[in-house]
Amino acid sequence: MDSSENKRFIKLKTAEGREKEIEIDEDGFLVNPGEWCPEFALAIAGDESVAELTPEHWKIIDYLRKYYMEFGSCPPIRMVVKNTGNDLKKIYQLFPTGPAKGACRLAGAPKPTGCV
């Protein structure tokens, strides 16, 4: 299968007002992590059952991004809890599809290795 046939994109406007097309995979994850911008998160928040991105959301997204940029991977949930000062339930309230999935997707990290 040539994946080029199936390319998908998300169109959005950047803070500066530029139109931008960001490539995503079939599960909606960023293909090129370098392309991430806050608007990307805004654009897909709904998919992950997040109605509005509050500062509390951004704090977690920021942490996830920083971690991802440093370690190339999403942090374990325990670390998210420890490092963002939220308890587990709170995090799941903010991101109903979970920190390791929904929130990471918003933060532009790659698809997690699965739940198997």
Binding site: D25, G72, S73, P112, T113
Partner: protein, 355 residues
């Protein structure tokens, strides 16, 4: 949306009513016939458990399942269970019900059997039927074995319990290495990284490798890819479940399965043991896996003829030793069963005198 926390409970809501008064009061059980046990409590109350064989990997059409559910309704207090080893089990309040139920189950194609000197259970994992990691197709192998050995479930006698399991890969979801006879799929090549790995969680994939064979390799364009160090890789296949972009190239040639014997959990005699690998590689030969079935049959028949009553396969081998095992079964001994590059390798060498 009412959030339920955990499984439905308390359990008392789901068991036959006539069981409730006896909980914790059982004093004895008697095997009435293969598959039917009479349980008696301290007040003389009795119930009967009926154990029926299941399909490989427990695949049921809803059509069949509804019929089974109906049988539970009619004969077993409106409830049934699956055993730890995934047979169906019904608890009836009298022997007559147990017997009628047995007939109805038989009519539906399900044998009633197990316990004492019989095959107690045969289980398999999903294999090709559903799983992404399979090196061999567990359900069809189990089907072949079960078709061949089924008489030992309900008719013929064996020295003691026999449990059989088949798993499609070393994950051993089917319980390989734990049962008296078990089969486990095995890959024997190093997987390759394809373009599709691009969108994987590379770091996470590297973590998934138990031997640290996966490295992140920077590409000229600043992005990264994965690299598998062939000299370290044990071909376990775990990375495939972390990243769909990693694949085996010629599984049709290099995938197969190994046969291990002598696993058991119970504390009886020498206690818990793990299966040991008597045949390190068999090719995948569906539909009937004749060679594999023949090896298993040979082991079962030799054990049956040679073991004393009550002796599990592991006990039997403990008594006679591996040398006699190979002599008696006529199976060839493979050097590959002997030693491998790890901590326990050294333990497989025979030291000093004795078995």
């Amino acid at each position: 949306m009412t959030a339920i926390e955990g499984p439905p409970r308390p359990y008392s809501n789901f068991i036959p009513d006539y069981l409730k008064g006896s909980i914790g009061k059982w004093i004895n059980h008697t095997v009435v016939r293969s598959g039917i046990i009479e349980h008696v409590d301290s007040e003389g109350r009795k119930v009967y458990s009926v154990k029926a064989g299941s399909t490989p990997n427990g695949r049921y059409s809803t059509e069949t399942m509804r019929k089974i559910s109906e049988l539970a309704r009619k004969y077993a207090g409106g409830s049934m269970r699956f055993t730890q080893a995934l047979n169906m089990e019904f608890i009836t309040k009298d022997l007559e019900d147990a017997q009628t139920l047995t007939n109805e189950l038989n009519a539906l194609g399900f044998p009633v059997g197990g316990w004492e000197g019989h095959i107690w259970n045969m289980t398999s994992c999903a294999g090709y039927f559903h799983c992404a990691l399979a090196a061999t197709d567990a359900p069809s192998i189990l089907q072949s074995l079960a078709n061949d050995l089924h008489d030992y479930f309900d008719k013929e006698e064996l020295p003691s319990k026999l449990a059989i399991s088949v798993s499609g890969c070393p994950s051993s979801c089917g319980g390989s290495f734990l049962t008296d006879i078990s089969i486990s799929g095995i890959h024997t090549e190093v997987p390759v990284v394809t373009d599709a790995a691009k969108t994987c969680d590379m770091q996470g994939t590297a973590f998934s490798c138990p031997v640290g064979a996966i490295q992140l390799k920077p590409l000229p364009d600043g992005s990264r890819t994965l690299e598998i160090r062939a000299n370290l890789c044990i071909g376990c296949g775990l990375c495939l479940s972390a990243c769909a972009g990693i694949i085996f190239q010629t599984p049709e040639k290099t995938d197969g399965h190994a046969i291990a014997i002598g696993g058991k959990a119970s504390a009886s005699r020498y206690g818990t043991t793990l299966g040991r690998i008597v045949v390190p590689f068999m090719p995948n030969e569906p539909p009937h896996y004749e060679k594999t079935v023949a090896v298993v049959r040979k082991i079962v028949e030799t054990w049956k003829a040679d073991a004393k009553k009550g002796e599990r396969i592991s006990d039997w081998i403990d008594r006679i030793g591996w040398e006699k095992f190979f002599m008696k079964t006529g199976l060839p001994f493979f050097q590959q069963s002997m030693e491998y590059l790890d901590l326990r390798g050294i333990m497989t060498i025979r030291e000093g005198s004795g078995r």
